[in-house]
Symmetry: C2
Subunit: 337 residues, 2 copies
Amino acid sequence: MARINDHYLKLAGGYLFPEIGRRVRAFQERNPKADLIRLGIGDVVLPIGPSIRAAMHRAIDELGAEETFHGYGPEQGYDFLREAIVQHDFKARGVAVAPDEVFVSDGSKCDSGNIQEIFSSAAHVAVPDPVYPVYVDTNVMAGRTGPAAEDGSYPGITYLPCTEHNHFRPAPPEQPVDLVYLCFPNNPTGAAATRADLERWVAWAKQADAVLLYDAAYERYIRDPALPHSIYEIPGAREVAASIDYYMENARLIRAGMTAAGLRVFGAENAPYAWIATPDGVGSWGLFDRLLHEAHVVCTPGAGFGACGEGYLRLSAFGKRDRIEEAIARVKKTLTG
Amino acid sequence: MARINDHYLKLAGGYLFPEIGRRVRAFQERNPKADLIRLGIGDVVLPIGPSIRAAMHRAIDELGAEETFHGYGPEQGYDFLREAIVQHDFKARGVAVAPDEVFVSDGSKCDSGNIQEIFSSAAHVAVPDPVYPVYVDTNVMAGRTGPAAEDGSYPGITYLPCTEHNHFRPAPPEQPVDLVYLCFPNNPTGAAATRADLERWVAWAKQADAVLLYDAAYERYIRDPALPHSIYEIPGAREVAASIDYYMENARLIRAGMTAAGLRVFGAENAPYAWIATPDGVGSWGLFDRLLHEAHVVCTPGAGFGACGEGYLRLSAFGKRDRIEEAIARVKKTLTG
């Protein structure tokens, strides 16, 4: 029998979003007419803007004409694009990055999965708790831990608790690790790192000979000009696109609405996610099920992101304005009667 | 110090195409006016066709309008696409494949690299020799072998010799292996498998409890209606697009021209690659250098694909007609005076 990678079997707990999908489908089968509002997965709803569309149309026509057709591009990315990334994302904020330090990949989710292959299978990894599951699962598949404990945590991985107490901005680990995953603005808690936080992380990593993997996927959602956008950065003034503003107004509405509903809300100020404490004695999945069945609103249970996520829900700001308003009204009505 | 994946160090021999790139750049620096013809990397030159362009323009407009915009697609691929693949690539040839057996990925090169992760790190892998380097290098990075021997082969990998004697269609291995990579029509030799070949492989794999990874990247180049396009297939009549015909006419010209130049030519009949034996006593890199320096034609030395590739060159049919004709004329002149 061909020998397969047994480490996959440790993932038996299942991935968070398929489990949410199963519960939602079961609900829909029993309630086919329910008007569900989905604030679970962070997926955008606004059409792509005219300048992007025009550029994509031009690129297709370029590939359609014999004089301008080109095949494989350079394997690190086109020079014009690497230069533009350096200018817009780094030089504009006073950070010295050279174009040959930029790698244009075919997708950041694949990258988050693949990057751990650069490290030894004996390397020790630290992740925030709660955490984006891809960081953990790819290390589990690569064999960097034994089987999961009963609470779903892995004994070979170091978890950095993110709690209200530390404002969901964890301190560096005490024990030696090779690689730390950081994500700010954070998915799922919506917390944003300060310059002091990142200075502390960089100093720690230098002293500990560790590598920081800094995932800045949501940096365009930062609104506070004092906050850094990248770990390479000294912050500076910066324009952001209106699309982003639309989702951030959603985030503001969610924050205000959930607070008015009597819930404690974190994030949603410099991030497109609100991290909401569930009422005492109501677990993540308990409130998820109640909002699904009574308010017909789909959110993401915090427990799915790690042990420290128990007692929280994540609401995504990626929705249409009227649907977000409707969802807020329904949740308020469900919770405050 | 963060522990890195030491298996990468075994790749010290370097990847074939960067080495070719270094030699070509060195030549160009000394000969900046030389009119180089590149038949090395298999990269297309014809513009994409009007129906594809129109579909891409429509898709962009769909994402640009609020009513038709959509975010993440289904993680296995859109149903309409999976259904179309089943119809065109399988049902049309009498093969029963269900849409949920089709996975639409973000690129087959990444897939060829990632797929080995499904197998145990102790799994034993067999590859053809010569071979597309991605199959080998990704298994080396995953630690399935010790350091390379002096001839560049890896002791932990089983090589299946592809020679003129077996028409570049190797027999199944004698020793037990978990996974075999097969590629037909083959890159680099241009050999195409017969139905009897594939029947033998399937029977062997069943008996040996092994998995076959069948890379059919070049199946559209098959011209002989008796040859199977996929290992799942019973062959049948089939239309192919004109773009493909253009490259196959290039392949025919290369085959005829190189034969007229006194060389023995394989492939290039059901594949876009010609596999050309170098004259006695002239190695792969020897003829590569001679064609680069005297004919100003860039090809790919067969030795770069494995020990059995020594003594051969690969010529790619992916070029413009007039440049292919010019390259053939130059090679003829260089070799026959």
